[in-house]
């Protein structure tokens, strides 16, 4: 009977949320007991989980810095999570103060929190929407109001596309975003894989599946992640382990070699001439 009782996804404090668990693994305190329990379970099966989120976050920092240095001034960060340390607007605005950032997440708490943090920054905003509904995301007044789609935009999809199921056709889904982006725009993806340590990763995915959370981890191979960049030119060094994408220091890599390649990462650029 209680199975029928219902609280909107992300607000039920008896169900772990991906966003808050991720915050816990990153060392934040924006999390609840259920989230920490799930994080700890993750650490059991995948002791390098903390390193993985650290490396992912470092990759995010390097990618955003790279893009801002190449003149990108607009960022659409989907699956942005709970703002913690080193958020996209902070990184980008350090390079160029006028950078505009829209954060999109389906998690209502993550968005409420983003709004709390961003209240005073008129160059940033946060929207609760679902990656899997591109037309909805792209037509939100917050998005159309802050971003100029005639100018290059960086679409950031970090550790989020692996929540899209195969039957939801992530390739076609991303193309619907790509179609709206001006030439010279970029897409950044980081995506968990089970190309190595298949068994460990399967158990990690089971941990998420067995929790009451609705999200499921769907790993993709190197080839599949590369395919997501269809229509884009991959920036050097292409789709690689997240630690190996232009690392700049010890913080960018882990001691365990597998952790360095447990997440595929890449940056693609929408060609100016020709293209899709």
């Amino acid at each position: 009977m209680s199975d029928l009782d219902w609280v909107p996804e992300g607000i039920d404090i008896t169900v772990p949320s991906v966003a808050r668990t991720y915050d816990y693994l990153l060392g934040g305190a924006h999390n609840l007991a259920v989230d920490r329990a799930m994080g700890d379970q993750m650490l059991q099966v995948l002791p390098g989980a903390r390193d993985l989120v650290r490396l992912n976050r470092s990759f995010l920092r390097r990618a955003v810095t790279y893009l801002a240095e190449r003149g990108v001034r607009q960022f659409l960060d989907i699956g942005s999570g709970i703002p913690t340390v080193g958020n996209v607007h902070e990184i980008a605005q350090e390079v160029a103060p006028g950078c505009r950032v829209v954060y999109v997440d389906k998690d209502p708490v993550a968005i409420a929190h983003s709004r709390l943090i961003l209240a005073d920054d008129e160059n940033t905003t946060a929207v609760q929407a679902d990656l899997r509904e591109p037309e909805d995301v792209l037509s939100r007044p917050e998005v159309t109001g802050l971003l100029d789609f005639d100018e290059p935009i960086a679409l950031l999809l970090l550790l989020v596309v692996h929540f899209v199921r195969p039957e939801e056709e992530p390739g076609k889904l991303l193309a619907r975003y790509g179609d709206r982006l001006a030439p010279g725009s970029f897409m950044v993806i980081s995506h968990a894989t089970a190309d190595d340590r298949a068994e460990t990763m399967r158990r990690a995915a089971d941990t998420v599946r067995e929790s009451k959370s609705k999200d499921n981890l769907v790993y993709r191979t190197h080839a599949e992640v590369t395919e997501l960049f269809d229509g884009y030119e991959l920036v050097e060094p292409g789709v690689v382990g997240h630690a190996l994408w232009r690392p700049g220091g010890v913080g960018d890599i882990a001691d365990t070699a597998e952790d360095n390649t447990q997440v595929w990462a890449g940056v693609g650029r929408k060609p100016v001439i020709g293209g899709r």
Partner: protein, 699 residues
Amino acid sequence: MTAPLPQDADGLRARTKLAKKWAYLLSSKTFIPMAGAELERQLLGFVERLCAGVVSEALAQRAGREVGDALVALNCTSAESLQVSVEIVSKGLLGMSSLAPPDKLRERVVDVIASLAAGFVDRIRASTLAQQEQLGRSLYKAMRQAQAELQASELRFELLEEHLSTGIATAGLDGRLVRSNGALARIVDRQPAEVTGMSLFDLVHPEDRTALRTDFAQLTEGGTASITQPRRLLRADGERAWVTLTLSPLRRIEGPAQVMVLAEDATDVNLLQGQLNHQALHDVLTRLPNRQYFTSRLEQALRTADPGTGVSVFHLDLDGFSRFTGGLGRAVGDHVLKIVAGRLQAVVAEENAMVARFGHDEFAILVENKQTTPDVVTMIRRINDVLSAPFHSDGNRVAVSATIGVVHRPPRDSTPAALLDSADLTLRRAKGNGRRQWELADRAQDGRDRRTFSLAATMPGAWENGEIQVLYRPVVRLSDRQVESAEVLLRWDHPKLGALPHEQCLALAEDTGLIVPLGTWALRVACEQARAWRRELRRDLPVRWALTPSQAADPDLLGVVREVLSDTGLPPSSLRLGAPAQALFGDRGEVADNLQYLAEDEVGVELEEFTAAPGDLVRLLDGLPVRAVRMTQSAAAEPDSAVARALAGVLEVVRDAGVGLTAAGVTTPEQARWWREVGADTASGPLFAPAGPPDAITR
């Protein structure tokens, strides 16, 4: 705050080395949002600060706390970060012998490191609390937002629930309905209030109960998918209603789970499948047989009835029913129809009879007469007696009456279709006489009626096709034969029958109710014409329209006239409206009111078909706002007859009362002269000019 640090190259090298090592260890433990070089630079700052603390005892505590605090700000929040920091920094500092005298160094380093740990812990507690508080606020906000959205979607749902024809209900897990909409009540033919509170298991056909229980069990066991099945519901009258029943689990924030029930009326589908014929033969609202059912029963009755007594068909039309639906709303109208249905059934309860609903407000009764059946007049009286008993509907006290056409004992070889046609014509004839009338079928009359009706039926189309014209007949001043005003007439140029004159146009339009829009149109055309004449001729040439009885009584008349006048810009005094004397004196308050208001607006009100009978005269003189009376030639008869002389006397009284006089239908110069003598100012008729297009007036 800076105490002098040893500036030698060795000291700097040692500090840089420590910072590098520290950065390396920290950044491999935790995410620090900056590039490696920047982190090293910051950590070098920390090292220098700590060294200063070792150098100066006074600074030791402060420096240590500051660095502990700054570490947390860099996101070095884990126990591991503190552990590596304490380890590497204390070792490093202890190795820097130049910072303090050998006997003091250990103690000072311990001081600084202890403070670092304390600063770290303080900051981490504060930051954890702050983050948890933020999280609480965000959760709360998200919850509020979700509630607001829930409310909005509830509103949307309620709106849908009210307007959909799909039955919608919410049931407890035991099947009891805690909420249901009007559509569901309609499907099961019960009052909405009655349905809520019932169990879905009682509403469903007994044969479907077990299956429904299985569905419910599936949902209560935590099934999340909805279940859709064709099911039979039980109507109040015991008939079954086929529905497509969908059950969905209802997830709720608070309270026990519920089941959402959708019942789509699948009757049509099943009619097609031939599973059910009740609905096909009955009127949904009143549950009475419909015309189709009635017809087949009639056919049978005609064949089998006792030839000595035969059958009778009563065709009823409720008087002024549109008043209920228009004025009091559809629900009251529906209620009235149901009451009428019940009462009619009661009237013939003793008879071998069938009561049917034919359409909107039309009912029919078929009686297979017996020796004891009352005669037609008694039946009619009983019908109107039961109908006229007032009742309450939605707070209104209402009473109805009916007009009835009767076909009594038709020949046995009549076809049902012909018989119903005849009943229909008789009914219309009865209606022509007013409300609460009745009439017996008469074959000769039927033939005439049929022709008129078919003509009347084509009139709206003819009007649209421009076959109906507005014509003007000059009204001349008897003193100088100048055109004083114009009478407005209609003519229907019928493609087959030729020109149908004004009087026939009006009679036909009156039959079909077309008169009101047609009359309004004629008024408008005429007023536009009058306005055009004013402009062209630079003088006032009023137009005059004779209102029909229903126009004169139309509650919208005043509004229509005002609108036409304001649209055309014609002064009210340039419009004259003739009101039929019988309508005015027939004790119909509406007509008198209408004329009173029109006169106050300065529209010229004239009395039509004035008979000069003493009663009319008295009422005329009794302050009616009439500018003139109009009399037709025939009333005056021959100029030097006795009638004419008597009339002259009456007209003198009219003139004395300040009321004008105009004559119509004047054919000879003698007549014209006579009218002039008795005080008529103006006249029209064949003597002067026939009706024609506008230029008939200006020529």
